[in-house]
């Protein structure tokens, strides 16, 4: 399989310890890429036991450099196009180009709240980050790739929530449906520039995305955070043909394939990664 030596990757939503963005950044670095790691928060809190001292973006830069690659870290609010342009400019100044974008940044929003009870500010916040943010990030990076004229690879992390109804999380589901539409439209717009645009629909994964939900469950059930997490995930695992939740490393494997030469003729595809969940 081709390696990524000499390539420059730009990752959003990279700072969570157990996050997909972090795993993808390390995977691409291990395959030879230099990596720009961005996140709204420099060091998001992880509630997993043992993660208390997590160093966020700075720690990831250290991990990438330990692999012999170069890294650039930046905090980035994907809702602010001027901020995105600033970070892209910094990345171009440091590396001279960006070959790969993996857009992983997203928020989950309230879980178990029906639309009739969902606050307008929550609806707007989720759509703004998960959908509008995806537009703004891909717009800026696609522009840089087009200007360079050497093609490129864009991977958008969507969700299986974008394939069906999601009662209790309608705004998240609607935003993720939107990211799939964005992926397919962008693929058609950018095909002539030899920029592949593909998406990943993760099923159920062990990440930090639901840390706060587990905290609320733990409080309601009078159990520890880890007990609440385990109970929830054991129940979810029974719904998955593969019998377990996915890992961030498995997302990283798929992302690596999608940014490699092996997927040169694939564009506009959104692949479900869910251990048989559809």
């Amino acid at each position: 399989m081709s390696n990524l030596k000499g390539k420059v990757a730009f990752i959003t939503g990279a700072a969570s310890k157990r996050g997909m963005g972090h795993a993808i950044a390390l995977r691409l670095a291990r395959e030879g890429a230099d990596v720009v790691v961005t996140d709204k928060f420099a060091a998001p809190r992880s509630l997993f036991p043992g993660d208390e001292a997590w160093g966020g973006l700075d720690a990831i830069v250290g991990e990438i450099e330990a692999l012999g690659r170069k890294a650039l870290a930046a905090t980035l609010d994907i809702n602010a196009s001027r901020e995105i342009d600033g970070v892209v400019t910094r990345a171009l100044n440091k590396f001279g180009k960006i070959d790969i974008l993996v857009h992983a940044a997203a928020i989950r929003g309230p879980v178990g709240v029906p639309v009739v009870d969902l606050a307008e500010k929550d609806i707007r916040a989720i759509i703004d980050v998960d959908l509008v943010g995806s537009f703004l990030v891909t717009k800026a990076l696609a522009r840089a790739m087009i200007d360079r004229g050497e093609g490129g690879k864009i991977v958008i992390i969507c969700s299986t929530a974008g394939l069906k109804g999601v009662p209790g999380s309608a705004a998240y589901g609607a935003a993720k449906w939107g990211t799939i539409g964005l992926t397919r439209s962008l693929a058609l717009e950018l095909a002539k520039y030899r920029i592949n645009v593909n998406g990943i629909n993760p099923g159920m994964f062990v990440t930090n995305l639901r840390d706060e939900s587990f905290a609320r469950m733990a409080e309601a059930q009078g159990v520890t955070w880890e007990e609440a997490r385990k109970k929830d995930q054991d129940a979810l695992a029974k719904m998955i043909p593969w019998g377990r939740l996915g890992t961030a490393g498995e997302i990283a494997d798929l992302a690596y394939f999608l940014v490699s030469d092996q997927s040169a003729y694939m564009t506009g595809e959104v692949i479900v990664l869910g251990g048989g969940v559809t």
Partner: protein, 260 residues
């Protein structure tokens, strides 16, 4: 190397996409059994696999006949002791009477369904016991973009390839607990021997002009190559896809999405 010391059977491996997959797998460390209807073509590709430093075995078998499939699997086990990967690529089409329903005889239908759908069922059924036993397996079924977006009416072939999508999702569900992934890829237009029958006796330029016109209908503005398809088959046959199962992946340069 992604497939070091794995053993794969590639059906329809003597030419086109099958040959591309066999050589890609061999380059990644895999020993490859090359199946084809006729032994000469299979032997040639088996030689190419061996030239890459891997072991190979050429087997002539009609995948639509269960006895021949069983013999193929027995020979593979006898030679290699295991089967890690099955690529169901063998397929065929006859356009002698076109593909419209009015001109499709019952015999045409049966034959094309047998080759393109029953053949995949028979090969899966024959290898699954070995994969279950070793608690590991990767099955890659080759469908066609025509299954979801027919470029022309070819009712028997496209129906068979549509059946492959259901075969894939059903089997993926059934085999998940045995650590066996089952996925499917849908190639778009690929420059291969697939089009030979259409251009039998025609000058090369006519074929090239056709390929160019077809390529322009693809968002990426070119036809695919066996190498393009083999790249995705490699992903699905490797442990990079260890949590991907039941998926059908289009490899068509942006098809079946259409810009208009």
């Amino acid at each position: 190397m992604l497939l070091k010391d794995r053993v794969a059977i590639v059906t329809g491996g003597a030419k086109g996409i099958g040959r591309g997959i066999a050589l890609k797998f061999a380059a990644e460390g895999c020993h490859v059994v090359i199946n084809a209807l006729h032994i000469e073509g299979a032997r040639k590709v088996a030689g190419e696999v061996e030239a890459l430093g891997r072991r190979s075995l050429a087997i002539a078998a009609d995948v639509s006949k269960s006895t021949e499939v069983s013999t193929m699997v027995d020979q593979t086990i006898e030679r290699f002791g295991k089967i890690d990967i099955l690529v169901n690529n063998a397929g065929g089409i006859s356009l002698a009477r076109g593909g419209a329903i009015d001109n499709t005889t019952e015999d045409d239908w049966d034959r094309i369904i047998d080759i393109n759908l029953k053949g995949q069922f028979l090969c899966c059924r024959a290898v699954v016991p070995y994969m279950k036993k070793q608690k590991y397996g990767k099955i890659v079924n080759v469908s066609s973009m025509g299954a979801v977006h027919p470029p022309a009416p070819i009712i028997h072939y496209h129906s068979a390839k549509g059946g492959v999508l259901s075969l894939t999702s059903n089997l993926a569900f059934e085999l998940a607990r045995f650590n066996i992934t089952v996925n499917c890829l849908l190639p778009g237009p690929v420059r291969s021997e697939f089009f030979n029958e259409m251009f039998q006796g025609a000058p090369d330029k006519e074929k090239e002009d056709f390929f160019e016109r077809l390529g322009k209908r693809v968002p990426m503005q070119r036809m695919g190559t066996p190498e393009d398809i083999a790249g995705v088959a490699l992903f699905l046959a490797s442990d990079l896809s260890s949590y991907v199962t039941g998926e059908s992946i289009c490899v068509g340069g942006g098809l079946p999405l259409t810009p208009d």
